[in-house]
């Protein structure tokens, strides 16, 4: 029998359920390692080398290198874990959240000051709100 997942029709959203968590286990544990200052330094010195120490998928590594948080989440990342990458980069939570919306930092901040994103048209996939775009990678394929 399939599991009950009533949240799959919420637009622009990936719910971090048990399945996503399994998929993203090593990606998220890599993120946790950045809570130690010495690991942040090593990561910043050579990101690819540091990532290669973790048994992540190559796609997860690419997503981290690109700082494409929607792509990270697609591959099993959770925002509270991914926030450790943002902290390492000196980004605020607002900058991180905004980066997933396709809006500029300023436009996102202004939207929040005006009262945030409306729920109207954004409750279910197929409505006509401003958050209907699926949380897919924003980074184009590299030519390498």
């Amino acid at each position: 029998m399939a599991l009950d997942k009533p949240y799959l029709d919420v637009p622009g959203t990936i719910i971090f359920d048990a399945e996503q968590s399994r998929k993203g286990y090593w990606l998220n544990q890599f993120c946790m390692s950045l809570m130690r200052a010495e690991n942040r330094t090593r990561f910043k010195a050579d990101e690819r080398a540091y990532l290669s120490e973790w048994p992540m998928t190559e796609e997860q590594r690419e997503a981290v290198l690109a700082r494409d948080l929607n792509w990270c989440m697609q591959t099993g990342g959770n925002i509270y874990f991914l926030a450790k990458i943002g902290a390492t980069d000196g980004k605020s939570f607002q900058q991180m959240a905004g980066s997933m919306t396709g809006m500029t930092e300023e436009a996102y901040r202004d939207m929040m000051v005006r009262g945030g994103r409306s729920v109207e048209g954004n409750r279910r996939v197929g409505e006509h709100g401003d958050a209907q775009r699926p949380p897919q990678r924003q980074t184009p394929n590299r030519n390498t």
């Binding site: 009533p6 998220n28 989440m73 607002q94 919306t101 945030g116 729920v119």
Partner: protein, 292 residues
């Protein structure tokens, strides 16, 4: 005997802690938010508890994916403010109440709630920001929080998280546990997190003021109905992280008007209610209830 006399509900946005730590509370962006807690800081001084039972969630700080306890009670004597990646917040060490916490753990488990007992844990903004909001800015070395705190962590990071109904029922078990402790202690129970917010995906930034306002009404006046709200309503209406609000139901369920899942005693007195948008990505809600 120990007694729960009041409950406090508040959001725990990390940027609020950063604003306090960096001395930004008088900036135009933050002024209206901190004004909403002026009453609360005075109330805290006038009604100083012996212990705060503080329901919060850890944000991938103490609990990574190594272990994901649904309900975790801190029975340690003290807790260090965590380094969440920006360095630890400059706030005093949190003193625990190991004896009362252990008593509550035993009693609540005997009432069929399977708690994880934690004797070592750093506490992140989920716990320290509510303390800062209610107690004001304190010097990490010279000052101390006004009383010991029992941290109670709820998993709201990985689905499925506990339902609102289970949280509400758990609150009732916690009240029974507190009331079976012999020492005369004035205990406050705090529910933190929320209100509407979403931190991920193209839908990030979602705020639903009408829903939040209705939730506050229900929480205060019709908590049995609030407890019945299913997960999906929080996600759809209040954003994927708005689901933190289930933690408020633990505190509400522990109030004295709730017995056997029904509201049948004298309702608590609403001392303060406040709502503000935004703090960073989040709608901030706050209420203080006193038992009759």
């Amino acid at each position: 005997m120990a007694k729960i006399t009041a409950s406090v509900f508040t959001s725990h946005v990390p940027a609020i802690g950063a604003a306090m730590d960096l001395g930004k509370t008088h900036e135009d962006y933050w002024k209206p938010l901190f004004a909403g807690y002026e009453y609360s800081k005075q109330w805290m001084k006038d009604n100083r508890p012996d212990v705060v039972f503080l329901v919060f969630n850890d944000h991938a700080t103490a609990f990574s994916l190594d272990m994901i306890p649904t309900f975790a009670i801190g029975t340690a004597d003290s807790y260090q403010p965590a380094d969440e990646g920006w360095g630890p917040r400059p706030v005093p060490v949190v003193q625990g109440h190991g004896m009362l916490a252990s008593h509550i753990a035993q009693s609540v488990i005997q009432q069929d709630f399977d708690l994880t007992i934690v004797n070592k844990m750093d506490v992140d903004h989920g716990l320290t920001v509510p303390l800062s909001l209610m107690c004001g800015s304190l010097d990490p070395k010279k000052d101390a929080w006004p009383c010991p705190v029992i941290p109670f962590a709820v998993n709201v990071v990985q689905y499925p998280i506990p339902s609102g109904q289970r949280c509400f029922n758990l609150g009732q078990a916690i009240r029974k546990a507190v009331e079976s402790y012999d020492e005369d202690l004035n205990v406050h129970i705090w529910g933190t997190g929320g209100m509407s917010h979403q931190l991920q995906g193209p839908r990030a930034g979602l705020i639903n003021q009408a829903w939040d306002s209705n939730f506050l009404d229900m929480l205060i006046n019709d908590p049995v109905a609030a407890a019945a709200i299913p997960h999906i309503d929080y996600v759809r209406e209040a954003g994927s992280e708005g689901i933190e609000l289930v933690m408020w139901l633990i505190a509400r369920g522990a109030m004295s008007d709730i017995t056997d899942g029904k509201q049948q005693g004298t309702p608590p007195t609403l001392k303060h209610r406040f709502y503000h948008v935004p703090a960073s990505n989040t709608a901030v809600g706050h209420a203080i209830l006193e038992n009759a």
